[in-house]
């Protein structure tokens, strides 16, 4: 049956090509969805891990970086730096602002830093160094056609773009970076000045520990001695943000993936059904020669498996190409199609769908009359 199934595959190359292409496109779509979610979680993790520091200090009760507002009293920095094992504590804050141009509105997460926690990858220009300077991510630059030296107006305050970063975005939101000097000027000179008292000046501290000190022990010491602060190892805070992302996007991912699997099963079922219909006469001959329904169905399932096996590498290549294209057009997205777990899972699902889809024409096969072989 294996030989017959493979022979059938090559008998009508145009139909086989279309079938393989369609299954590959479905697999590519599944890989893209998985890659989109995986990329979203990676972006959330990177948002924390790229800030640096051995220990991160936040407001008591705040256990996330990206989605929560943390406000630390100013004196906490000095208190943290006084703890044993602490070499230096670098201040960090962030604020959400809306950039509006050409009738479009885009939220931006502005990360404010001093001497640590700034942009991890400046691909053009340089990081901001003082008042009125801002570095923006390529996602924002691409969306609005912004370049180094251009003005970026936020709350009626004009920043000058000094650099373009790569990969600084999370949850569809590009990041921008300014220094604390830049923030103070922004607060006083922009429209927000009148109500400055309410704005956060210190959200997190990025703590460098002294050489040889254990970050976990230093974190425990800070926790024990400073009631206004909670401490996290960067990995823990990153995991918290990733988990929040899973909580936010998990249900919808399951729904969309479920729908994609349904498309896959329906499509492969349709192909198998069409393959059986188009070869009724041949199958009738086989039935007349004594082949049972089980034998014939095995042939159809093998053919579906053969299609799936050809489609898997093509689907992976298609997903990878599409992901690169999308990331270039809209860099706010990160689509990780090369995740080995996702690849294996999708491959296994393709095989399962092929088996399920291959069984679709079971009814037709059961009703197949050997006399078909002798009709004109």
């Amino acid at each position: 049956m294996l030989k017959l199934a493979i022979k059938n595959g090559f008998y009508r190359p145009a139909r086989t090509f279309l079938t393989v292409l369609a299954v590959a496109a479905i697999l590519a779509e599944i890989l893209m969805l998985e890659g989109f979610m995986s990329g979203t979680y990676t972006q959330l993790r990177k948002s924390v891990l790229e800030r640096g520091g051995d220990v991160i200090v936040a407001q008591t009760g705040i256990s996330n970086f990206i989605a929560a507002r943390s406000v630390l009293p100013q004196q906490v920095r000095a208190e943290v730096e006084a703890q044993p094992g602490v070499a230096e504590a670098h201040p960090l804050t962030s604020l959400m602002l809306i950039y509006e141009a050409g009738g479009r509105l885009s939220p931006i997460l502005v990360v404010v830093y001093d001497d640590a926690g700034g942009p991890a990858a400046v691909t053009e220009g340089r990081a901001p160094q003082g008042t009125g300077e801002i570095t923006i991510d390529r996602a924002l630059a691409r969306r609005y056609g912004l370049a180094i030296g251009d003005k970026l107006t936020l709350s009626a305050y004009d920043f000058t773009i000094t650099g373009i970063t790569e990969g600084a975005a999370a949850i569809f939101t590009p990041f921008a970076f300014v220094t604390f000097d830049g923030l103070i000027d922004f607060y006083f000179e922009s429209d927000v000045g009148a109500d400055i008292a309410a704005f956060p000046l210190l959200s997190f501290l990025l703590v460098d520990v002294t050489p040889g000190a254990d970050p976990a022990e230093v974190a425990a010491t800070i926790d024990a001695n400073i009631p206004d602060a909670d401490t996290f190892l960067p990995e823990t805070l990153a995991t918290n943000d990733e988990n929040l992302g899973r909580e936010l996007f998990g249900p919808i991912l399951s729904l969309l993936l479920g729908l994609s699997y349904a498309i896959g099963a329906l499509a492969i079922g349709l192909f198998s059904f069409a393959a059986v219909r188009s070869r009724k006469k041949t199958l009738g001959v086989l039935r007349a020669l004594g082949f049972t329904t089980r034998h014939l169905m095995a042939g159809v399932v093998i053919e579906a498996l053969f299609t799936a096996l050809l489609a898997i590498p093509l689907g992976v290549a298609m997903a990878s190409g599409l992901a690169t294209l999308i990331e270039n057009i809209s860099p706010v997205y990160l689509i990780e199609t090369g995740n080995p777990v996702g690849l294996w899972r999708t491959g296994a699902i393709a095989v399962l769908l092929a088996i399920l889809g291959g069984l679709a024409p079971l009814g037709t096969m059961r009703r197949l009359d050997p006399a078909t072989a002798f009709r004109g």
């Binding site: 079938t19 009760g61 507002r69 927000v192 729908l259």
Partner: protein, 369 residues
């Protein structure tokens, strides 16, 4: 030709059903994806729309509620209240936060409302108090159910414990759930003194909201004022634009899938009916007419699939609401028009796929055994 087209299409109802279902699922994927963004976009403006203030006042330079920050000195409450045509001013504090409930973290927008005044509070309750008292919170019923919590249980917001006093409805979506606490509690939690985020302004009867907004901007220092419609439209626009690129990408992917599936179906029809096509050609039917017939078949499959996908999404909206209340689905006219246009384009492209096959059919083969 017209009769032949539809007779052939309906000659195998099983195959037609499978074909339409496969193509419909590709369209449904696009509609579902877009539906999620539409559902979230509708929820993002729920507070603005449902509280139905005539004018919203915020910090100058701010024109949105979500994904931004607004703070106003509290003396501006009285200043706005003193503007001619203002009936009532209701201040709120507002911030995005992550709160802990039932051992899990939940993203939520937290609204600090004046104790005892439900004006800016939840608009639909499942049970419990409509306005929180000191130390109390009103959380979405969906979160309470998922976390296994009820009235009297504790949740932790920014490190502070709050007792659940009420469970609200229509206040939850994946990225836009709303929690209500008192303004004083929230101010203390986030260490702000003497500030609020937004003012909900109710106008005197007969006062034009747009004119009132202009008057407030002119008379009160450094504030922005927008009518409810403007404010809501701007926030809706933010949500839509955040998902715009990815929705287009999914539309293209879903469209490409539909092209391949429809193309395969039409190609199979041609392959199975080569002899009939040969007879037609022998009888003088032109290739052009055969293409038109194939195009009609592709269009019929595409449009039937589109209709099925639309039916599925309309069925899914209430069903998902019951089975998976964490997901908010919405259907917009724009999405329906876009998918409908995609269905037509898909059919046109798919009909091209079997062209070579049709050309290769030899009329002589009709007379060969």
């Amino acid at each position: 030709m017209f009769n032949w087209t539809f007779r052939e299409l309906f000659s195998s109802p099983q195959q037609l059903l499978a074909s339409v279902a496969a193509v419909a699922s590709a369209f449904a994927l696009v509609l579902f994806f877009e539906g999620v963004f539409a559902g979230e976009s509708e929820k993002i403006v729920a507070l603005i729309d449902k509280t139905d203030a005539d004018v919203w006042v915020m910090q100058e330079g701010v024109g949105n509620m979500h994904m931004t920050t607004s703070f106003l000195a509290d003396w501006k409450i009285d200043a706005v209240a003193g503007v001619e045509g203002v009936k009532k001013v209701t201040p709120i504090l507002y911030l995005n936060s992550v709160f802990e409930a039932g051992g899990r973290n939940w993203f939520s927008f937290v609204v600090g409302m004046e104790a005892g005044d439900p004006r800016a509070g939840p608009w639909e309750m499942a049970r419990g108090a409509r306005a929180p008292g000191p130390g109390e919170a009103i959380i979405p019923e969906v979160i309470a159910d998922s976390a296994g919590l009820g009235i009297g249980d504790k949740v932790r917001i920014a490190g502070e414990d709050f007792t659940i006093a009420g469970l609200s409805r229509d206040t939850f979506s994946m990225a836009n759930s709303i929690t209500f606490v008192t303004l004083d509690d929230l101010a203390e939690t986030i260490s702000t003194v003497g500030t609020v985020s937004y003012l909900l302004v109710d106008a005197e009867p007969g006062v034009n909201p747009a004119e009132l907004a202009e008057r407030i901007k002119a008379e009160v220092e450094k504030v922005n004022a927008l009518t409810r419609e403007e404010f809501s439209a701007r926030d809706y626009s933010i949500a839509v634009q955040m998902g715009l690129d990815i929705v287009w990408i999914m539309t293209l992917i879903g469209g490409a899938l539909a092209v391949l599936l429809t193309g395969f179906i039409v190609h199979s029809h041609v392959s199975e009916r080569e002899r009939e096509l040969a007879v037609m050609k022998a009888l003088g039917v032109r290739d052009r007419s055969i293409y038109a017939a194939l195009l009609l078949q592709a269009l019929a499959i595409g449009l039937l699939a589109y209709a099925l996908a639309v039916a599925l999404i309309y069925l899914a909206v209430p069903l998902v609401g019951v089975l998976s209340p964490k997901i908010s689905l919405g259907v917009t006219t724009a999405a329906l028009i876009r998918s409908g246009s995609t269905a037509v384009v898909v059919s046109l492209i798919a009909a091209i796929i079997p062209v070579r096959r049709v050309l290769s059919v030899d009329p002589v083969s009709a007379f060969q055994q």
